[in-house]
């Protein structure tokens, strides 16, 4: 019982931490390399604990992210919902992919996410972003194995489900 509650807090904690990391700026030079943390953490949870992550949760988290750092309310809600939908749809496949294949899948998901974001921003009247705009999904995918192993390891150590 207690362990279950702890597990829930751990789950919520990682999500909040992802939102906070999104807000922390990097030095100027590294700025385009910043990965989209909420997407990575949500992806991890939707693969590992698919019954907890629902579209509603993704939408709520997106709204929270929009409130914190957003250009348009609903923008990240849209992106995260689409991302989690695809991840959950192919969950049983993605889980048993070897790591390199999983990384490629994550890259595809993140690039798709960027494309969605670009479409939304262009519709909202922004100029097309510079080329460095497209680096972030690659950094995110490169970090994926580490994020995955770290979160998995911590979860095993804490014996949470």
């Amino acid at each position: 019982m207690n362990r279950q509650r702890l597990g829930l807090w751990w789950f919520i904690g990682t999500l909040v931490f992802a939102l906070l990391s999104m807000l922390v700026p990097l030095p100027d030079v590294l700025e385009p390399f910043k990965p989209y943390w909420p997407a990575l953490v949500l992806l991890y949870w939707s693969l590992e604990s698919g019954d907890r992550v629902t579209l509603g949760l993704a939408f709520t988290m997106g709204l929270a992210a929009d409130l914190l750092d957003g250009v348009l309310l609903g923008e990240q809600a849209l992106r995260l919902t689409a991302l989690v939908f695809i991840a959950l749809r192919f969950r049983s496949r993605l889980r048993f992919f070897p790591m390199w294949q999983q990384t490629l899948a994550v890259l595809a998901l993140l690039v798709n996410d960027r494309i969605l974001l670009t479409i939304v921003r262009v519709f909202a009247g922004d100029a097309l972003p510079p080329a460095s705009w497209w680096i972030s999904p690659f950094v995110g995918a490169a970090l994926w194995p580490f994020v995955f192993l770290l979160l998995d390891d911590l979860r095993m150590r804490l014996r949470l489900q």
């Binding site: 939102l19 939408f59 750092d69 609903g74 049983s92 496949r93 909202a124």
Partner: protein
């Protein structure tokens, strides 16, 4: 349809729900785009949002503290020396300016204008938070409770940085002059040519796309705020022209400028409190005439109006 039953695609997600959520997100985006909902909600949720901003700003704050703590004596001494020289220079300039300012005041009194050279400013500190708009926004640690209002100009020691666009109770968001959505009326110091500086797409420069072909603009020209539009007071340094070339349309010259303010490096900024007086055309005068209740019935109809106009 066949996929739903296959174990490979088993999942608790329904396409219908996806469509529902996506539609909801789109409705929210359109409403926000039209009415600026996000800021109202953000203002309402400020109790939860602002502590998170402070929390997320901690790493940057920590880095600043660390860089001071671990800076070697040598560097601090050099910095101190430089600051002292700057202060000396500034004071010398000020002393010389004082006489001129007094004279200026006197002349202005004679001319009966109200504009003064006094600055009413408030010091603010930048909170290191990424607001998700490619670095074109800054978060300051003062807000509506400190008397900050949207539209206030923000400057640093070297020039104009931007203007406040939104305020929360104890924080406020600044749109930098390098934001592509920002337009700033400027004047070229050397020639007095008035034009408009926009933010550039890649974000660290200014673009002046509408300079007449015959105009005299050179590299190295300094740009000042012109005061037109009434947002920024006139005479603040904005940037320095780095390149002039014919625009792709061939109808104008296009210049690029480097902002003089340290846009990405400033930690402390100044908020100007007295807004500039609008220097544009005066507001349209309400037509004077007899009160409408005295007008004869039917006089307000269009048919009756042209008659007096016809007279030469």
């Amino acid at each position: 349809m066949g996929q739903e039953s296959s174990p490979l695609f088993a999942g608790s997600t329904g396409t219908l729900r996806l469509i529902g959520y996506l539609a909801l997100a789109m409705v929210l985006m359109v409403l926000d785009h039209r009415n600026g909902w996000m800021w109202r909600i953000r203002y309402g949720a400020a109790v939860a949002v602002e502590p998170l901003y402070r929390l997320a700003g901690l790493p940057v704050e920590g880095m600043r503290t660390l860089s001071v703590a671990f800076a070697d004596r040598q560097r601090l001494t050099v910095q101190n020396q430089r600051l002292r020289e700057d202060l000396l220079l500034a004071n010398a300039k000020l002393n010389r300016m004082a006489a001129v300012a007094q004279q200026n005041e006197h002349l202005k009194e004679l001319l009966d204008t109200q504009r003064s050279l006094e600055l009413n400013v408030q010091l603010a500190r930048v909170v290191g938070v990424d607001l998700g708009a490619y670095r074109h926004r800054l978060l300051l640690n003062v807000g509506a409770h400190d008397g900050v209002k949207p539209g206030q100009p923000v400057i640093d020691a070297r020039g104009v940085m931007g203007q406040v666009i939104q305020t929360l109770p104890t924080t406020s968001v600044v749109m930098l002059i390098t934001d592509p959505n920002n337009a700033l009326p400027v004047t070229v110091e050397r020639t007095g040519l008035r034009t408009i500086a926009y933010g550039s797409r890649d974000g660290d420069r200014l673009v002046l796309p509408t300079i007449p072909m015959a105009a005299d603009v050179k590299e190295g020209d300094r740009l000042l705020t012109s005061g037109l539009g009434g947002r920024f007071p006139p005479g603040f340094p904005v940037g320095e022209v780095t390149r002039v070339a014919p625009a792709t349309t061939g109808m104008f010259l296009e210049a690029q400028a480097q902002p003089t303010a340290e846009i990405n490096r400033s930690e402390d900024v100044l908020l100007l409190h007295d807004q500039a007086e609008p220097a544009g055309p005066p507001p349209p005068v309400t037509p004077a005439g007899p009160p409408s209740d005295l007008a004869p019935a039917g006089a307000g109809q269009p048919a009756a109006v042209p008659a007096p106009k016809g007279k030469p």
